[in-house]
Subunit: 316 residues, 2 copies
């Protein structure tokens, strides 16, 4: 099971931030950063680098912006070999706001994109690479975008970009293991000079098994989150991934302790995990937005009606 090239990225604060307006308090983020560091995880992603010209810092928490100063403050004094990552969305970042790597605590910038925006993603990733960062491109909603335009996009990344990794992102939690196998093989066939990564969503309880499937077919960059926190049903639970990898460089115990102390109480306040409307969205290969809206309504447990509404929308 051990493969030296495998790198694990914890995106607890980044993907978890999607369910609490990126508003984790600094004690919580320090606790996560400390545990992830002690556990020997390779990367930790602390949030998005969105432009404050586009989003108000009054409306969102710190981790929507990930200012260099904020990152320096919460990591200060904690012994760590874990590299720091932030994510940017195409169209939501101003490149001139990203300082050269030499002036920043950030090591890696991941560019999240849809297939249709691949040119913009490559432009951003190359800018970050030129400034000294590790850069990746993460192709979202891939279960909806599996036509020939996907191969063209991956080919373009291979030829035109300086990214280190290209991620398959199952935003809708719709992939089963056979499509994961097929996608990883497709990516590997095109990407001669780059690694393949996988980011799962857990709508159908498949984020962990799909990550294993990606590993089997030689994806080497893997995302997880503590206790599976993340948008809608959440992500691949980091603790399960560490249990599977059995890499001697990892220590699962700080993560278990962190779950006991921080995540069990947090789960009482915000919701993620196996929840039927997210499962329905996953099995119908739909964005979880309708399910997320349902969970905030009085009809939150009306699963049959919700299923029927999604199915009939599909027929229109």
């Amino acid at each position: 099971m051990y493969r030296e090239q495998i790198k694990v990225l914890d995106c607890t604060i980044r993907d978890g931030g999607l369910i609490n307006n990126h508003d984790f308090d600094e004690h919580f983020v320090r606790s996560v950063y400390k545990a992830i560091s002690e556990a020997g995880v390779d990367y930790v992603e602390l949030g998005y680098r969105n432009s404050k010209k586009l989003f108000s810092s009054k409306e969102y928490g710190l981790w929507k912006f990930c200012d260099d100063d904020v990152i320096k403050r919460i990591t200060h004094g904690i012994q760590s070999n874990t590299k720091i990552s932030v994510m940017v969305d195409v169209g939501r970042v101003e490149v001139e706001e990203v300082m050269p790597k030499a002036e920043s605590p950030i090591d890696m910038i991941r560019v999240a994109t849809y297939v249709k925006d691949i040119d913009k993603a490559i432009f951003l990733a190359n800018d970050f690479h030129q400034k000294g960062y590790e850069a990746t491109i993460n192709i979202m909603a891939i279960s909806k975008d599996q036509g020939p335009e996907l191969d063209e996009a991956v080919q373009q990344i291979e030829e035109e970009s300086h990214v280190k990794v290209v991620y398959i992102v199952d935003s809708f939690g719709a992939l089963y293991q056979e499509p994961v196998e097929s996608l990883v093989k497709r990516f590997k066939a095109i990407l001669k000079t780059k690694e393949v990564g996988f980011h799962g969503h857990n709508h159908q309880q498949l984020a962990f098994s799909n990550t294993i499937e990606a590993i089997i077919h030689n994806a080497n960059y893997l995302d997880g989150t503590v206790y599976g926190i993340g948008r809608a049903a959440g992500n691949c639970p980091l603790e399960l991934l560490m249990g599977f990898l059995k890499n001697p460089k990892f220590d699962i115990r700080p993560i278990l302790d962190l779950i006991s102390k921080e995540f069990i109480p947090l789960r009482e306040k915000i919701e993620w995990g196996y929840i039927i409307p997210y499962a329905i969205a996953g099995m119908l290969n739909e964005h979880p937005r309708a399910a997320m809206a349902l969970r905030k309504s009085e009809k939150k447990e009306n699963y049959k009606e919700f299923y029927e509404s999604l199915v009939s929308t599909g027929l229109e």
Copy 2:
């Protein structure tokens, strides 16, 4: 995805009974039976047929014994094409208490066994077969029993028994998809005249994906439970399996409605699902009994300490 030979068995009441002393009330069991029937599921397993000479009916609920009369009462008046199953454990049933099929509402009897008890299991299964029932043998704790004695046991079932199906039972939720592939192929290679079945446990969120893996390698008998109820972390959620199979004979809507009305309230009273001590037991390939005991103690959220206790026990 559609394969006509695939048969789905719902064991909600049987495996769910392991977490509430088999004490579901009759309204609940009727609701489950009705929804399973409307959903078009092939089999429903209502409990164990234990001998009342060995267990007191004062200490356990009805579904520990599954008297023919009780089954007739709760199924009465409900239109159904779903076959009825009960499970027996080797050493806990008196064969003379099982009437001929012609006098019973039961269609199938599944014999749960460890590899070491295979002779007794074959004796029981053949007795039931002779009385007119469909019979199966379900090999439990298979993640601990993968040596050559497993092949011998499966060979013996092939040669000496009249069972219809032999199930791989991942009692500890310890299998990943590669071991599932390997086990299903091993079983298929030996079992020329019988089907292979799969029963997963969800300790590591792998019950559903392992069931898919078993399907890919031609296991045709698949267990699920409504909302994944079952011992410890529970089983493969039936609703996810139906979403995957996309067999036109199934209708997921009665199951979704049943979850809304019966299982969301039930989950407030009894516990199953993704709970870290069960995940730890699964990743260490251990019986969940220590984790189940922990969950009833004041230390129920002390995950790190629990992990360390299991790991050090393993070193003794």
